[in-house]
Structure formats: C-alpha cells, structure tokens
Amino acid sequence: MVRRRTLDISHWIAGGIFVGIGLYLLIFTNYNTPGFGSLFLGIFISLVMKGGLVEEEVSKSSLESGVESLDLLLDDLGLSGNGVFVPEGDTLSSPRTYVPAGSFQRLPELYDEMMVVSSEGGRVGISLIPTGKPLFDEASSRLENTSEGIEGAREIMGMLSHGMGLTKSCSIREDEEVISIRLTHGVYGDYCSKLRENRPDICVRTGCPICSAFLTAACSALSEPLLIKDFEVRQPHIIYRMERVK
C-alpha cells in the first residue's frame, strides 16, 4: 500500500472516535440505535483498515531498485529480443522470463538451475525469474481459489489491480493467437513513465515489476508461454500484445 507515513494509526483514531460516540450515546442518552450504529462503524474501521503502511516514495524506489541495472546488464550482454513469459511446468518450479539474443525464433527447454540458455544454431538467451514474481505470488496468495484460462487471468489481474492497487484498472482480451493486456495507470503512473524514460527497452524485455506481475499472471493462468509481440503507450493506458508460443 502506498501511504505517506510509516506508522499509520489513523484507523485507530477514526475507529476510536466512532466507538466513543457510540458508547456515549448508548450509556448516557436514549439514542440507542445511532449509538449502536456508531459503535459498529468504529469497530469495523478499526479492524478493517488496520495494516502496515510504507511511504509512497520508498515504495516506488524499492520497485525501481535492481530493475534498471538488470536492464543495463541485458543491454551489455546483447540480449535485445522481446521477452517471453513462461509459466511453471514440468521442468520449471516457478514462472520465468526468457530474453533471447536477437529476434525470438524458438523457445528452448528451460530448467530451474539454468539461467543462460543456448538453443539451436548457437542462439543464446537468458532465463530470469520475472521481476514481478513477488507481486504475482502475493496476489495469488490472497485469492482463495482461482479458475484457469482467461477467467483465471482476470481474477489474478483483478487482485493485482483493484486488490493491491498497482493499476487503476486492467483488462485482458483474447483474439485468436494474440492476447491484449491493457493496464490503466494509477498511483504508479509516474514511476512507470520515469522508468520507461530511463530504460526505453525494459517494457518489451522483462517489463518493470508491475507489468511483469500482470504478464506473469496471464501466462500462468493460461498455462502457456507468451511472447511480447508489441507494446504501446496510449496515456493513461499501456497496452501489451502477447503472442502464444508454440
């Protein structure tokens, strides 16, 4: 959650005020119904709004750390291809982002212990844990149970967007072989723009942690590798077009 203070006791204060008013009305007056309502609201606010909060700038900075240097490293290694988001499977215990050198030809066999992957014709690529995997894991753990396929993707993406507040809204659409994912910027809009300004290729390679979490959610729910076909910024939206990898 993005907030201005490290320790937020506002929920206790707001809840306490309502509880106080409620108790006063119940004990010292005959307004029992409003008193009960106020007491109920006070308890509800105290319980539901409770939670640890982090400063907004700290939250954004922690999302930035590591991502730029990773992109710089990929640049230096000449890994300039568009990323492929690979779900967990027989040989992988967790989702991966595969970034090939040059244009993507074919997805090699990926294994947990292998990071640098060589495929046919001496083509090299790198298999990374998606930068947004912790966010994806958090969203998955918050859901009681999830469906599979496009509906499952919508559920996890809904949690990432509305439940965790990473974007204002999101949508996923399946059109034959192309899967379009549209994200509408929310509180992290300026973080996204700044990162894209510094590292323009990051969006099609590994994605920032936020986009990566959404793309990992899509590939995991659909249980198939998805290649970033193209990426478009149409303020305040960003649109990813993903292609199924055979």
């Binding site: 409003p34 009960f36 319980l47 709004m49």
Partner: protein
Amino acid sequence: MTLAQKLAGAMALWTIGILMLIGTADLELYGIFLLIGLLIARELTTSLSKQKIRERMDVMIYVGVLLFIVVVSRRILDILGVI
C-alpha cells in the same frame, strides 16, 4: 483510495443510510440491516481483499449472527408468550 478505505466508506454510508431509512425506533431491525450490509461487503470483496481483512470481517459476521440468533429467539419466545 485503497480497498479498505473504500470498504469503510461504503459501510459508513450504509450505516447512516439505514439509520435514516428506518429511524431510531427499532434497534433489532437496525442490527439485522447492519449484518446484511456486512455480509454483502464480505461477499463483494472476497476476490479482492486480503486474507487478514476477510478474517476480521468474519469475526464481526460471527458476532452479528450470534446477535441475530438472540433476536430471533426473543421474537419466537415473545410470539409463544413465554416472555
């Protein structure tokens, strides 16, 4: 605005709205309406809220259901003429 804040705002509106609608006369009816609001909020936010928030709401629902049982029992005893 976070989900918890939206939830608190919605419950505040519900609490005040119901109070304005049924007035201050019937506390039992008011309590039942609050429980209904809580159940609706719990159901609508199931797929979006954190496990901890759901658990806390569940505790409130259990208390509400207990109170509801007490209210219904009192009404039944009242109709039977026991009290």
